[in-house]
């Protein structure tokens, strides 16, 4: 059941990134805003990798869990945007 709930949140993340892609496709300004948001998120993601020990103690989770979250986040964005772009 735990796997099921993780899978559901994973799918929710994928759909959310598809939704962001959809918003970006509506207007060039929206595209710029989403691109800015994506860049900022990517920089934050990289910083989280570099400062994993500090961030994990800040969030009160283990380093392995943080790294798993970061990997899942990357997978979610790639799958979500990939599905949107390929269809």
């Amino acid at each position: 059941m735990r796997a099921m709930y993780l899978a559901n949140y994973f799918i929710a993340g994928c759909i959310a990134s598809s939704l962001l892609g959809w918003i970006a496709s509506l207007h060039p300004m929206a595209m710029r805003a989403i691109a800015f948001l994506a860049t900022a998120t990517f920089i934050l993601w990289g910083l989280c990798w570099l400062l994993d020990f500090s961030v994990s103690s800040l969030l009160k989770i283990s380093v392995q869990n943080l790294q798993a979250l970061l990997m899942a986040g990357l997978a979610v964005s790639i799958i979500g945007v990939g599905v949107f772009l390929c269809t």
């Binding site: 059941m1 799918i11 759909i15 959310a16 598809s18 939704l19 959809w22 918003i23």
Partner: protein, 181 residues
């Protein structure tokens, strides 16, 4: 609950993929439909995730309860064994301290020892009693939670289908033995 969760998960996947792949891009309103279905898909996926998390937590609590009941039974058996052992030790000490003949003391101690190591039937009976008591505690916990007889027979006794009648009889027996206490 399970059905709802699976239906919501399936709907989320369909609402995510179907409008993106199936909708003709020449139609004017395809963008609006895509947005709507993506929003609905997120709602479905999050609801399904919440239900699954709730079910996972409930399962965990059930497992903890079962472990606690088993630990209680084991503890009770260990305590009764310890009490019985110390009682016999006291009896033996009383026999040794009494002003009897050595032969009489020996006979009394032998009698005590033979009582201590009764044939296996006693052990088997007490094992069965312990199992019944453990089952009864689970049944009682389920009754307090408001579970039905059918649920108890199927989930606690693990007797479904043809074995259901046997389970019903077992439940009646347990209720007769422990229910009034």
């Amino acid at each position: 609950m399970y059905l709802k969760m699976f239906v919501l998960s399936g709907s989320a996947l369909i609402l995510w993929l179907a409008p993106l792949t199936a909708l003709d891009k020449r139609i004017g309103w395809h963008k609006a439909i895509q947005g709507l279905s993506l929003g609905a898909a997120i709602a479905c996926a999050v609801s399904a995730g919440n239900i699954a998390r709730k079910l996972a937590d409930e399962n965990e609590i059930e497992e903890i309860k079962t472990r606690a009941i088993t630990a209680d039974v084991v503890d009770e058996i260990a305590t009764s064994a310890y009490v019985s052992q110390s009682q016999r030790q006291q009896e033996a000490e009383i026999i040794l301290a009494s002003p009897m003949e050595i032969e009489a003391k020996r006979e009394a101690l032998e009698a005590l020892c033979s009582e201590n190591f009764q044939p296996e039937t006693t052990a088997n009976t007490s094992d069965k009693d312990a199992r019944d008591l453990e089952l009864w505690w689970k049944v009682e916990a389920a009754q307090i939670e408001g579970k039905t007889q059918t649920w108890i027979i199927e989930n606690i006794f693990k007797m479904k289908g043809r074995k259901f009648a046997e389970g019903k009889a077992q439940l009646a027996e347990l209720l007769r033995r422990f229910g009034d206490a």
